[in-house]
């Protein structure tokens, strides 16, 4: 099971990339598992970090094949 992970702004800078495909089989299939994996892998600042699954920030915690997960630093629009 594979998902696409996107990084933006300060988080992309910390990760050193904007996008990658991650195979969940060895990590776990919950959002929590993926979050822990990525934060540890890139030493991401998780202060004020928000995560969107398929463009929705919300309550879903179970991941499905093909999902798009986005790691979002604080918004700065306007």
């Amino acid at each position: 099971m594979k998902v696409t992970v996107k990084y933006f702004g300060a988080i992309a800078e910390q990760a050193g990339l904007h996008e990658e495909a991650i195979e969940l089989s060895e990590i776990g299939t919950s959002l929590g598992d993926l979050k822990t994996h990525c934060i540890q892998k890139y030493q991401l600042d998780d202060d004020a970090l928000q995560i969107a699954i398929n463009q929705q920030i919300g309550t879903v915690n179970t991941l499905n094949d093909g999902d798009e997960i986005a790691f979002l630093p604080p918004f700065a629009g306007g």
Binding site: F8, Q55, A76, G78
Partner: protein
């Protein structure tokens, strides 16, 4: 779905010119049921931070999600307020200090609706749309902007 509610392009490349704003205003003079326009403009400040001055902000966005959020916010505003028109433009890429990066334009028969809708849009956009701003300093260092 009415014509005014269809998704519209919000993002523009670089700063928003005063001429674009004038054209937008002029385009509404044929709509003679409008009595009030409310406009909000965001302008990039040359903030001084630790002795360094911001020369520009480089805006980026999670574009697909941002367009979806703009759409939802527009829908909510049309539901809540009796508006004739609503326009939102936000910059992507580099906007120099002193230049405009956000243009919100609401029109209604009466002032109350136009003003309240404009305020609603400003707050919703700042809170819900995934846009990121890299504040560039004179010495080519940078820091990431956070909305208050």
């Amino acid at each position: 779905m009415s014509e005014k509610k269809k998704p519209k392009k919000v993002f523009v490349s670089g700063s928003i010119s005063p001429e674009k704003i004038a054209t937008s205003i002029a385009n509404h003079q044929v709509k003679t049921n409008i009595g009030a326009h409310s406009i909000f403009l965001g302008q990039v400040r040359a903030d001084e931070i630790d002795g360094k001055t911001v020369t520009a902000i480089d805006y980026s966005a999670y574009e697909e999600m941002a367009e979806q959020k703009f759409y939802e916010i527009r829908e909510a505003a049309f539901d809540q307020f009796d508006l004739t028109c609503m326009h939102i433009y936000h910059s992507l890429g580099e906007v120099k200090s002193g230049e405009i990066c956000l243009f919100i334009f609401t029109s209604s028969a009466h002032r109350k609706e136009a003003i309240e809708a404009c305020n609603f849009l400003v707050e919703e956009i700042k809170a819900k749309v995934p846009i990121f701003g890299k504040e560039l300093f004179e010495d080519e260092t940078h820091q990431w902007k956070v909305n208050r």
